[in-house]
Amino acid sequence: MQNTTQTQLEFPMVMGQPYETLPEDLFIPPNALELCLETFSGPMDLLLYLIKKENINILELDVSNITDQYIEYIDLMDALQFELAAEYLVMAATLAEIKSRMMLPRDKHDEEEEDPKSALIKRLQEYQRYKSASEKMALMPRVDRDFYTATAALPEIKIEKKEISITKEELASIFNEIKSRPDLKLSHQIDFEELSTQERIQIILDILSRRNVISFSKTLRKSEGRHGVVVTFLASLELAKDGHVELIQNKTEEMFLKSLRGA
């Protein structure tokens, strides 16, 4: 009984139901795309899955075969307009490079530089160590899941209130801030509007013509979701590259855009 709770909690939820198994093969029905995203924690994880499926040792990695499978997989996701993390594409490029190298006759000089295939194998091995450590860690007894602490209600006690003061304005602004956080967990919108980076650059410049500094979160709309964040971020980078703005990050991880025009 303990165990079922445990596994249920660890597996991704799709439409409220836990998925407990990995997809059977490469071809995943469109409605399970969300599952893929959660099933694989990244391209390394996907690659390890493909290797395991072939039942081979990492060291005997047949790059040519794996590359085809991997790219097939990526194409499928692409065809379904699945917003792929750039890292998946980088991995596809790496695999393709290794594959093409293998087809070329080997040159003695090449052995001097690091072989991309052995570099990839090393990375995969390193990743696998932490992946299996994390699987073990996920099964370790955890508070509020496998065991609970015991507490009793306090007797009547007097709490001195030397400390906290908070104003109603602070309450309102904190609440507003929470509500306007873009939902980064929102997976993908089916019919999103085209957002142009060029246009966004213009908008940011307009804002900065009136004020010197603006926080990153204020240059985007909540409703634009992840896509809006990406477009605005690209726009900020462009502006920084061209020397229009300086990007500043404070401790809370919020980024600010500071105009360099007036400086």
Partner: protein
């Protein structure tokens, strides 16, 4: 009474973090395959009362059920414990209290949904202890999660006569961010 049932009742009272009704306890036992009448559970509670007799705890019955409570005799050192705590109000605590203020009554799950990250037992407890929030009911959902609302004391501390004096929020969810953008679009 069967020691296993007595101990399970005890575990429930220590683990619930809120008072439990006899009928709730019966349901929870049942889900664990233990069958007991309400009168049996009452007997368990009596047995536990015996068990705690010479300890620092007692079982009290309050409006929403039975709970384990620390005897009043031991209040002094506990007062020190709770007053010693560093008086820093964390960002997480601020967010939690602002959500409760505007959305009350809410469950812990509701707060987590809005914040997008989990809310620690410690923050809820700390707000309860300083009497800024109280349990005003239970949601009719699995586990009967507690519904939290702000207290009169919270209003006093903020110098408000009623919760309606809190600043109004923009109608639509899209908060102040859009206003900046709309200026230029």
């Amino acid at each position: 009474m069967d020691i296993k049932i007595v101990n399970t009742v005890e575990a429930l009272l220590f683990g619930a973090g809120r008072p439990l009704r006899l009928s709730e306890i019966r349901g929870l036992l049942e889900s664990d395959g233990l069958i007991a009448e309400l009168s049996d559970i009452k007997k368990c509670i009596n047995e536990l009362e015996q068990r705690f007799n010479s300890s620092s705890l007692e079982i009290t019955e309050v409006a929403s059920g039975f709970r384990l409570q620390i005897k009043q005799t031991y209040s002094a050192p506990i007062t020190h414990l709770w007053n010693e705590r560093t008086p820093r109000i964390s960002k997480a605590l601020m967010e939690t209290i602002s959500i409760i203020s505007y959305k009350q009554p809410v469950t812990r799950g509701d707060i987590e949904d809005i914040r997008g990250v989990s809310v620690s037992t410690q923050s809820i407890r700390s707000l309860l202890e300083r009497n800024w929030i109280k349990v005003t009911g239970f949601k009719d959902a699995p586990g009967r999660p507690a519904l939290y609302s702000t207290t009169k004391e919270f209003l006093d501390d903020l110098n408000l006569k009623s919760i309606s004096e809190l600043p109004e929020l923009p109608e639509v969810d899209e908060g102040s961010n859009d206003q900046v953008l709309s200026e230029v679009i």
